[in-house]
Symmetry: C2
Subunit: 408 residues, 2 copies
C-alpha cells in the first residue's frame, strides 16, 4: 500500500462502528464511545511508530516522536465529525501526520526536533455548542469554561469528560508550551478550487476573516394588482439588488460573499413585500479586504434603499479575525511541492480550522488536499489515493526541509 492508500484505508475503517456512533452513517462526536474507540486504535498505531502517547485534558490524543533537539513540530487535525459525515474531514490530516512519523520510524531517522501528532476531539462542535475545544485548550484560548454545556440528551460536557476518564478541572489550566515552533495541518479542501486548478494539493495562505450581517429592509406592503411599478416600495426588489451587489463586490475583490437565507413578508404571491430579511456572509484573506467589501456593500445598499425609498437596518452578527499562515512555512511547502514535480499553488481557506486557534500558540501552516467536487460534511466526500500520496510525500519533504533549516 502507498502512504496515500494507507491513510485512506484508515479513514475508511473509521467510517463504521465502533468508530462511528451509527451503523449506517459516520457520526463520531466528542467524548462518545466512537471517539474513544478511534483514540484507542490511533494510540496503537502511534505506539507502533515509536511514539509516546498521552491524552490531554481536552480529549486530544497526542503522540510524540522524539527528536535530537528540544523543539517540537505539531502536526494535527481533528478526529471528530459532524453527523452523517464524510470520512476524510479532519481524520485524513491525522492519518497523514501519523504516516510521516511512521516513515521516519521505518527509516530509524530522528530529526533535530520532536514531532507531535495531534488528534483533536472537538473541532466540529457537533455535540456541544462549542467548537475547536481541543485546539483552543492547547493554545490557551479556551476562555469560557465549556464544561456545563449540555448535549441534546442533557448530558453535560463535565459528565462526558468524566466518562472519558478525564477530570473537568483539567480544562481550567492551559498547558504551557514554549517548545512548539510550528503547527502544520493537512486537511481536505472542502471546496472546489484545487479540482478546478487540476492540482492534488495547495498551500493555504490563511484562514478567512469573516463577517456576518443581518439585513432588514422595510418597504411598503401593498396590493400586487393595484400598485403601479413606479409607486412601489418593494423590499424584496431592493434585496434582489443587494444580493447581486454583494456577488459583484465579492467577485471583483476575489473574495467570497453569500446571501444564504432570505425571507419576504407578508410572503404572499399577491402582496408586494413590505419587509425583507436576509443574511450576509463575507469572507476574505485579510480583515482589510473583508472590511473594504463590507463598506462597499453598506454604501451600495444605502444607495439602493435611498433610490427605492426603502428603510434598512444592518447589524453585525459575527466578526472573526483572519489567521495568516506562516510565510516561511509556505515557502518550504512550495519547495516541497515543486520537488514532487507539482505546481505549487496558494489559496485561502474560507472554512474555519483548528489552525485558527493554534495561531495563538505558534506559527501555523496548512496543506489542502483536493476533494471531489468540493463536497464535504456529506458521505459523498471523496479523495483520490494519488492525491493523498502527493500530500504524504510533500509532508515528508517538508519536515526534512524544516530539519535542514539553520534556525532549528
Amino acid at each position: 500500500m502507498t502512504p496515500g492508500e494507507t491513510a485512506i484505508a484508515r479513514c475508511d475503517l473509521f467510517r463504521h462502528p465502533p468508530y462511528s456512533e451509527e451503523a449506517s452513517a459516520l457520526t463520531r462526536r466528542f467524548l462518545t464511545s466512537a471517539h474513544k474507540a478511534a483514540l484507542e486504535t490511533l494510540a496503537g498505531w502511534m505506539q507502533a511508530a515509536n511514539m509516546a502517547v498521552r491524552l490531554d485534558a481536552a480529549g486530544t490524543l497526542i503522540g510524540r516522536y522524539e527528536g535530537t533537539g528540544p523543539r517540537t513540530l505539531l502536526i494535527g487535525s481533528h478526529i471528530d465529525s459532524v453527523r452523517d459525515a464524510g470520512a476524510y474531514d479532519g481524520a485524513l490530516g491525522v492519518m497523514l501526520g501519523l504516516g510521516v512519523v511512521e516513515e521516519l520510524a521505518r527509516q530509524g531517522k530522528r530529526l533535530p526536533f520532536a514531532i507531535e501528532i495531534l488528534a483533536f476531539g472537538d473541532e466540529e462542535g457537533s455535540r456541544f455548542h462549542a467548537s475547536m475545544t481541543g485546539s483552543r485548550f492547547i493554545s490557551g484560548t479556551l476562555k469560557d469554561d465549556p464544561t456545563s454545556l449540555t448535549d441534546e440528551d442533557g448530558v453535560t460536557m463535565e459528565e462526558a469528560l468524566r466518562g472519558f476518564g478525564l477530570h473537568p478541572t483539567g480544562l481550567r489550566t492551559a498547558p504551557h508550551r514554549e517548545d512548539v515552533f510550528l503547527y502544520l495541518e493537512p486537511h481536505i479542501e472542502q471546496g472546489p478550487v484545487l479540482e478546478a486548478e487540476n492540482l492534488p494539493v495547495g498551500i493555504v495562505t490563511g484562514i478567512a476573516a469573516q463577517t456576518r450581517l443581518a439585513v432588514t429592509l422595510s418597504g411598503m406592503a401593498n396590493h400586487a394588482g393595484t400598485t403601479p411599478m413606479h409607486l412601489r416600495k418593494d423590499a424584496l426588489a431592493a434585496a434582489a439588488e443587494a444580493v447581486l451587489l454583494l456577488e459583484r463586490i465579492a467577485a471583483q475583490a476575489g473574495i467570497v460573499g453569500t446571501v444564504g437565507a432570505i425571507s419576504a413578508r407578508p410572503g404572499m404571491g399577491n402582496v408586494i413585500p413590505g419587509e425583507c430579511v436576509f443574511a450576509v456572509d463575507l469572507r476574505a484573506p485579510s480583515a482589510e479586504a473583508r472590511d473594504a467589501a463590507e463598506r462597499a456593500f453598506r454604501t451600495g445598499l444605502a444607495e439602493i434603499c435611498a433610490r427605492r425609498g426603502i428603510g434598512q437596518e444592518t447589524t453585525t452578527v459575527q466578526q472573526l479575525a483572519p489567521c495568516l499562515c506562516d510565510g516561511a512555512a509556505q515557502t518550504l511547502l512550495a519547495e516541497a511541492i515543486a520537488a514532487q514535480g507539482q505546481r505549487s499553488f496558494r489559496l485561502a481557506s474560507g472554512a474555519g480550522h483548528d489552525a485558527m486557534s493554534m495561531a495563538a500558540l505558534c506559527p501555523v501552516a496548512m496543506l489542502f488536499i483536493r476533494c471531489r467536487a468540493g463536497i464535504s460534511h456529506n458521505p459523498a466526500e471523496h479523495v483520490e489515493a494519488a492525491d493523498v500520496d502527493v500530500a504524504a510525500r510533500v509532508m515528508l519533504a517538508f519536515v526534512e526541509k524544516l530539519a535542514g533549516t539553520a534556525e532549528l
Copy 2:
C-alpha cells in the same frame, strides 16, 4: 349633509355591531348576522327611496327603482368584508348607488330605464373558499355548486343559506335577465394611482388579466466560505436577477409584476442556496400584454439560468382572462366627469371586482374613487367626503346622460 357625507356616514355606521361580527373591528362575512343586519337597514333605506326590495337566492339584496321603459341599469358592489376590514371597500359603491336613486326619487324623476341597486353578499370569499358568489350567481357563471363548502367552524354554506331564510336549491338555477343593459360598479381604487394623479375619481378601462407562476431554480448548495464566486451555482443570485428582470419588464410595459414570496434552501447563512422557489404575479389590461410580458420573463429567466448553470421549472398556477369595461360607458363617464370640472382619467384595475363576473351578463363599467395612500383591506382605509361627492355627482350625471342616449 352632502351625498358624499351621507354615503360615508352610512359606511361608518356599518363599521360597528350589529353590522360587524366584532366589536373592535369591522368583519362582515357572507350570511352572518352582521350581513343580515346590514341588509335589513339597507332595505329600509331602499324602500324609503321608492324601491322594491328583494333578496335573491345568493343573498344579494336588490332594490328596484322602476323606469318608464323595460330595460334595467344595474348599479352595485359588495356589502361583505374581509376580517378587520376598512369601511369603504364594497360598501361605498352600494351607498353611492343608493344615493343616485334617492336623488331621483327626491326629484320624483323616472328614467327611460329601471335602476336596480345590488348589494352582493359575497365578493371577498372571507367565510367560504368561494368568492364573488353573488355576482357569479346573477351572471350565470356559478358553475360549481358551492353549498357544501364549510366555514372555519364547520358550518356549510347550505346551513348558512337556510339560516338566512334562503333555500340552497335556489342557487342551482341562474336568473334569466334579458332586460339588463349595463352594470356600473363604483369602488374605492384600493391603489395609489388617483392619489398620485391628484384626482378624486377615475374611469376603469378594464380589470387586469392575471397570470401566476411558480418558479423553482436549482443550483448547487455549497460552503459559503470555500466556494469561489466563479465556481458557484447560486440559486438565490439567479432568483435575484429574475426579480429585477420581472420588475423591469413590467415597468417598461406599463403593467404590474410582483414576486411576493421567496424561499432559499437550505436557508443557512453559511451555505450557498442550492434551491430557490418564488412566486410571480403578472397583471395587464389585456391578455396580449400579459402574455407578452410572461414570454419576455420566461425568455430572460432561461438566459439567466443558462448563463449561471442553474436548472429551472416554471409552472402556471393561475391564469385569469381580463375584463374590458364598455367603451361607450367609459366615454359617458368621461363626459360626466368633465361636466364636474374634473380631468377625466382612465386606469386599469389590478384587483378583481364583481364586475369581472357581471361581464358575462352584460357590458360593465367601473368608477374608481381615490382612497388614502391606496390602503385597503385595513381599518386605515380612508376616503375624503369631497371625493365621494364628486363620485355621486358623476354617477347622477352619468345616468342622466344614459337616459339621453338614443338607443335606450
